[in-house]
């Protein structure tokens, strides 16, 4: 177990380093500099700006400085909003996105796992077909379509929920539904497959042969084993939710990281883009690492090395 944890940890760290480096050099590879779109700036001020952002130094030096700053937790200043730092903007928007994301994942996992279990136990019957149908729709229809649909129907037409912004619990419903839908679909499908796979295993037959009741066989033997691969699936799902949040937050005008990210892209605010990308990447890598660890704990075949 220890070896496993360490190995995964090292890979995680290397991954983060790769992201930082790649992002940095990619950003610097953009032709022109970030000020070309601005109104004419006097050369002297241009010089000062360049010096402030370190753009007059050789690339390697800039890279070194960036890394140094990162280790201190400083992601730099926004190039567009010159009075604000990247850190600041992340600090205010991250909690919002985190709430949205976590709720979507919780809903996705909760409903997804439940649907998957029920579908597998009722194979070939109506609910099973319903879940498969849902799963295919959820994976095929893009998140922004759901977002728009919900916004239009439940927000504007039926007026059940507010159309945008953030505040009361009512504001959560539509965005979480839009973000969570594809999670539910994906997880339900995976859980169903996992259940069916476990149900065909020999040890389920052994459990029955011992005379255990259907309930015990289903819960203690089938579900307990079927849910293991879902831990890994959740890791993948988290990535999907993060990416989906960009669009959902934009559509619902939710003041989260995603909305700022999209804005920064549209405005070519390179430090903000870089900082946010790195932040996202780090979060994702950490989440994947955590899921790996949890999986290692939960599956005794990994927890107990031979």
């Amino acid at each position: 177990m220890l070896k496993y944890t360490l190995k995964r940890g090292i890979i995680a760290l290397i991954t983060i380093w790769v992201i930082i480096t790649v992002t940095f050099f990619l950003m610097r590879a953009i032709p022109g500099d970030p000020f070309t779109n601005e109104k004419k700036i006097q050369p002297q001020i241009m010089e000062n700006l360049k010096r402030k952002y370190g753009l007059d130094q050789p690339l390697i030096v800039q890279y070194g400085k960036y890394l140094q700053n990162l280790l201190r937790g400083d992601l730099g200043d926004s190039m567009k909003y010159k009075t604000r730092t990247v850190n600041e903007m992340l600090r205010t928007s991250f909690p919002v996105s985190a709430k949205l994301g976590l709720m979507s994942i919780a809903v996705g996992a909760g409903l997804g796992i439940t649907f998957g279990i029920i579908a597998a136990l009722n194979r070939g019957k109506a609910f099973d077909y319903f879940v498969i149908f849902l799963a295919v729709i959820g994976v095929s229809v893009p998140g922004f379509v759901f977002a728009a649909l919900f916004q239009y129907w439940f927000g504007a037409k039926l007026q059940w929920f507010p159309v945008a912004r953030w505040g009361t619990w009512k504001h959560y419903v539509l965005p979480v539904a839009a973000l969570g839908f594809s999670s539910i679909a994906y997880i339900a499908r995976m859980m169903r497959t996992s259940m069916l796979d476990i149900l065909s295993q020999d040890y389920i037959r052994t459990a029955k042969a011992k005379g255990l009741s259907r309930r015990v066989v289903t819960w203690k033997h089938t579900i307990r084993n079927a849910i293991l691969p879902i831990v890994t699936i959740l890791g993948v799902n988290i990535a999907g939710v993060v990416v989906g949040s960009f669009v959902i937050e934009s559509i619902y005008a939710i003041p989260g990281m995603g909305k700022y990210y999209v804005q920064s892209i549209q405005q070519n605010d390179y430090t903000l883009i870089m900082g946010t990308t790195i932040f996202y990447a780090v979060i994702l890598v950490i989440m994947m690492y955590l899921t790996d660890i949890v999986y290692g704990i939960v599956d005794p075949r990994i927890r107990i090395d031979e």
Partner: protein, 307 residues
Amino acid sequence: MEQVGLEKDMFEVVGKDLESAEAIIRPSLTYWADAWRRLKENKLAIIALVVLALVVIMAFVGPMIRPFTYDQQDFTKINQEPSSEHWFGTDALGRDIFVRCWSGAKISLFIGMVSAIINVTIGIIYGGISGYLGGYVDIIMMRIVEIIYSIPELLWVILLMVVLGPGLKTIIIAISISGWGGMARLVRGQVLQLKQMEFVLAAKTLGADTSRIIAKHLIPNAMGPIIINLTFQVPGAIFTEAFLSYIGLGIQPPLASWGSLAQEGTLMLLIKPYQMFFPALLISITMLAFNILGDGLRDSLDPRLRK
């Protein structure tokens, strides 16, 4: 007790009849013939195939059957609901949405398919080399893939698009560079399997005909998963393009793609929902059809499900 009424000549010895002993009741088909037969039986997959064919046809025919071009603006007819003149209505600049949807189809489908093909090709080459060389090279190459793929593809694509700038060519490049990991792993697995087989066979046949073995075994075994993967890559690429265009990194006006149309439509969503509805519908139907077809292919190409 002995049965009455049996004739003595019934007890003439006739011996073994091995032909009937080894007769196989079910006709044996080749792998591909069986797969095609199974696919044909899957009504849903066939419907999906037909739908896709229709979409492709309309992508070419659509713009031709209406007297507008995709960038033709008409300020007297902005934001009109669908009518007999403008079947899908008009947008904020008076452009006909029907024509824009179908010329957008051409672009979205083109991006989807070309990116998917390049993706798969890169994956096959990378995975093939990694599996063939084996050893440390293989381990390192696969670790690289693993690290790259800890980050969702979309994030890579966004980064690349920010650097490369929006446009048709850059989108294809960005998507192609970002999505080949799954294919690489798959092909590598096949090659490794094949290497084992090759080794065993070589030991028996003194190394003769190894290239024929590769051709006769690698192709049938690997083609199935490759085709399936390709079928799933296309909707992924279409979705990525739609997503990029939606956040402004993709196709720029006046060109249209489904994603950019959806984005334009969102601005008027609450008042004129049809503007977003049509491109969104087209995206969804196309992706749905590809996914159903992919599922159908996966089922029919799985040798374990042969009946």
